[in-house]
Symmetry: C2
Subunit: 347 residues, 2 copies
């Protein structure tokens, strides 16, 4: 028996290896990408993903209300479906709560989950409930329809543009504000209430890019796509590893909004750390053919999607994953916290 | 806020009510039966179910090895799919373990789950892993194909025969042996080793009735079907409630095997309590047209299935759920342990 703790990679490798002994019948994409792609019969494809959220690992009851927990559990699954370019359809929700929890708290949890589900026309079609010895825990499984070829992590090629939707670091900024506020005399109190609310909301109730994912999924030119759950540095590493490529990212081109910059200033933090290592932004990370980028950016905006920003390019694998400052010099970045809890067989 | 603890019924009611506000598009059967039935397009149906198993709620590490936990988590989901008469296809497995766990333990867990999955040609196509603050927890979601009309809980009609597959009370007998053995000087030591192994195995590694469920699902005459997870008394109550009917069960006709009787004798327990209230047998409980029973029993045996035993009949709702002794007199039975942890939105 090994004495070492588990790493994500070990677990995923183990699952992948063991699962590969199955028939794989009807499995277009199994373990290793954001979702499984299932093909009950030729021409008909479903996507399926599952996410586990545990109190004191993925959220803290100190600032996450039951409705926030429900929302976020649904959001992280929707984000996985979005990153395949698929249409979310059905959810199964398993919830365990301490026996001291009230029916109102459980109802609030489901209200939070369902309010986001309804925005995306997702039906909760099943689930399970249990008493939990300690702490809340949630597992949501989400199924979706795939009407195009899936956008996998493995499709990036040297020369492709690397791009992200929305802004980066907002969730980490919100978490930092929640942590600081919980501590003492609100060092972030120099911030406008609107800024605080906007950023903490980005952490507690992220908006999965479902419209954007579907639009990008069906539009030619996108070569790879995934969602940003563990931070740009960690997730781009996964994408380039799967694609057998490297990448260079220009830090001065990362989309960091003014509120995030204000919060960083108030808390004496570097917003670049939040943008590269913070995680939980649930934006989409994608690569596309260079000639396609402007068409994709403009088309997505016209379709009602959030802003698409080019942040770098895919390089040959030998050049590795590099972050460059405004002058093009290599820079060190926060890699985030790559712990076992981030392990995902899909996702 | 209510001060009372949660009951299963409250939670299921809440989920059902909230979920009913969704579009229900493509949902042939949503919350409330053993599985959701999904219809991506007319003529094409999938089933989906999810089950949460928590250490010290659903299993104890004292006697359940990681491979046992994996097996059982897969088995309870397979049992749900079986009870719909469906063919299991794809599983998503989410696992959280304390950081002290070793890769070998995690691998053993997946080996246990996959060894049973392979027996039924099920592929694990996704999942999630996490650190757990305390104790193991598992969530498996299982998807399957439905090629016939599903056998729901709501189809029983007065006059129908009530029947079960296999034998009842074996899992409870095995649990009692594990508990007694763990305690002191093995009061069950008068039992043959083979008997102890067989019964503890029934508890730790139940055999879901997948072949039986599919055969019964496609054979005319079966009117309702579900699996026995919480014990005959509790589960038959659910079936009759859903069907708007009553039932009378003859205790002397319950299939209780000789090993279970031996264990009951050795532990000074009543095997009928195990058979009616013990739970976790994962046999199928079904109702059928009276004229169909013998054909079903003989046909299932010919198809390689386990024994089917008639144990009573469906009655008008006004007569309630009654258990009768060998002379036809009402008898009290163990109702099992109906706790919040048994709550299921599907299952």
């Amino acid at each position: 028996m090994s004495e070492t703790n588990l790493t994500e990679a070990e677990v995923v490798r183990t699952i992948r290896r063991l699962a590969a002994t199955g028939s794989q019948e009807g499995v277009a994409v199994g373990i290793g990408d954001d979702c499984a792609v299932l093909e009950p019969r030729p021409g008909r494809r479903l996507v399926a993903t599952t996410d586990l959220l545990l109190e004191d690992v993925h959220f803290r009851r100190r600032w996450a209300e039951p409705a926030d927990i429900g929302w976020k559990a649904m959001a992280v699954n929707l984000s996985d479906i979005a990153s395949m370019g698929a249409r979310p359809r059905w959810a199964l929700v398993a919830l365990a709560v301490p026996t001291s929890s009230t029916p109102d708290e459980v109802e609030a949890f489901f209200e939070g989950a369902l309010s986001l589900a309804r925005q995306h026309a997702v039906d909760v079609v099943g689930g399970d409930t249990s008493a939990a010895p300690v702490g809340w825990l949630v597992n949501i499984t989400l199924l979706g329809d795939l009407e195009t070829e899936p956008r996998l992590r493995s499709g990036a090629r040297p020369g492709d543009v690397v791009a992200v939707t929305g802004a980066l670091g907002r969730s980490a900024a919100g978490l930092a504000l929640l942590e600081e506020n919980a501590r003492a005399d609100e060092p972030g109190s120099s911030l406008e209430a609107g800024t605080r609310f906007d950023l903490t909301d980005a952490h507690l109730r992220p908006q999965p890019r479902v419209l954007e994912g579907q639009w990008l999924g069906r539009t030619p030119g996108v070569t790879a796509m995934m969602d940003l759950s563990d931070g740009l540095a960690a997730d781009l590493r996964r994408l380039t590893d799967e694609s057998g490529a490297g990448a260079s990212v220009r830090l001065d081109q990362l989309p960091i909004d003014s509120r995030t910059r204000q919060a960083a200033k108030a808390l004496n933090r570097d917003p670049l750390d939040w943008a590269t290592g913070g995680g939980e932004d649930y934006e989409l990370l994608l690569t596309c053919e260079p000639a396609a980028f402007e068409r994709l950016r403009d088309g997505l905006a016209e379709a009602g999607g959030v802003k698409l920003t080019a942040i770098g390019e895919i390089t040959p694998v030998a050049r590795g994953l590099r972050f460059l400052d405004a002058r093009g010099n290599p820079a060190r970045v926060s890699l985030g916290y790559q712990h076992f809890s981030a392990g995902r067989a899909n996702g």
